[in-house]
Amino acid sequence: MFAHIIRRLLYTIPVVWGVVTVIFILMAVVPGDPARLMMGQRGDPATIERIRHDLGLDLPMTQQYTKFIGELMRGDLGMSYRNNEKVASAIATRFAATMRLTIWAMCLAVAIGITAGILSAAKPNSIFDYSAMFLAVLGVSAPVFWVGLLLLLLFAYNLGWVPGIGFGDGSWRYLLLPAVALGVRPAALIARLTRSCMLEVLSQDYIRTARAKGVKETLVILKHALKNAMIPVVTIIGTQVSELLSGAVLTETIFAWPGVGRLAVEALINRDFPMIRGTVIVMAMTFLLANLLVDISYGFFDPRVKYEDK
């Protein structure tokens, strides 16, 4: 187990290096001079030259790259072009908000998705099954930013149950709508997958045996079937992290949620390249870490997974 974790960590290193390098190259080929961009029209050539030197933009590309990697190793993501703020500390202050949003969205999605999936599979072709699966189909196909707007329209503007956009005092009432909006699609996917996996597991021999022994149906479903049906569901939760982080970019923009996603969009609008680079790197690292955790958690759901054999 421990050896497996170490091995997985080692496999992740080249991917991390790739992510960092790809985004460095992407931001390096951007046309236009950042120093000129920072100073606007009023910069005189001498000042621009000084800024270029301060930012290390006068160095050859290879040296800029080694400098970038070196700083990155020390957790330094450079300076924002906009307001003389350190990229790393700007992200650090926003990161918790994004985590809070995505984790709650995922919790909601898992709770609702798995419950709906189990209930659907327990009584297939029932009215509940049809309506749940109909909603799931809609949930999978609706764009997250549009769902967010509809939720705002209904619950904030029309019914007034929750405040509209913003972080407010940070209470759950501000978190509710964005978390639901972001959770809709994963909830729908998880519900559909749970249903189909449960149906497959429930048709197997050991379930028939359990039923024949007279085990209560609730126990059959919750104890015998659920654990085996969860393996594909855990996998999809891992891949959903990527979609959640993508979705967070849009959700945070709609709800004016002070997270890394909105920071990234602001940076893109301002053409603040060190900030774009930093936010993308942090989000990609979060995804890689989440997948590592999901991978390790397989062992809990499926004891057949022998890490050493791989």
Binding site: L26, P31, S141, W146, L153, G164, L245, S246, L268, I276
Partner: protein, 304 residues
Amino acid sequence: MTENTSTLHHAALKVEAGESPVKEAWLRFKRNKLAMLGLVMTITIILAAIFAGALAPYDPVKQLIWTEGVKAKLASPSAEHLMGTDLYGRDILSRVLFGARISLQIGIFATLVTLLIGVPLGAIAGYKGGLYDDLISWLVNVVFAFPFILFVLAVVSVFRDPSLYIVFVAIGLVNWVSICRVTRSQFISLRNREFVEAAHALGLPSYRIIFRHILPNAIAPIIVQATMGMGAIITIEAGLAYLGFGAQPPTPSWGLMISEGQKFMAQGQWWWSVFPGLAIMYTVLAFSFLGDGLRDALDVRQKR
């Protein structure tokens, strides 16, 4: 293993029915109600896009406030304007119809870019294996680690004025990984078959074996994946336009319309943002039903 049994099953069916594989797939497709629904929905979108000019009651960018006055400004849905009008008096229904052109255009061209990158890379990785496979798989993992929309945004931001061409190239540059994975796994399972060995023995060059001999046998899962990906691409484009990085005003893009209309939702003028969203949902649903139907009809990864 499932692969083999399904192929055998396939062959048996074929002998019995004496039909070509395409016709056989179509017969299976026809029996699937959801698949047919997806096909009909897709056709309506294509027709809407082609005949938008004839179907749309108004010019999609014409600002009716100049001719009809204030009553055309943010008019609620009525017989005259079935989906209402926006702040400038543009007819929403006409804009939604023309929006189908933008979405389909992006969907088709981004899918082409996706296939152009993903299929050859997947084929090389799967067929050659070894170092090629390691390198390509590494690249797939790297691209996959980026949050999809943020990477597309970063690519788009490299260019000063985002045009639709840049948007679909950017989407293709990220989206190819899914096609690459599917192609790779197909090639891995096909590369040791007898017909490939025979082609080898004949001394055919690799590119000929890859494209003329293996690819036709690997095409079904690629088609399915590409169809399913259309919905994702259309959603991503809408997201980009919503954030202001895709289609620019006054283009009738669905994502852009949602973004333009959102500040009026709080005042109760919901139609500007709601109808384009429904159009996106309809399109995504159409391609997802179609993709599911194709998967079952073409016998891809069928477990039963």
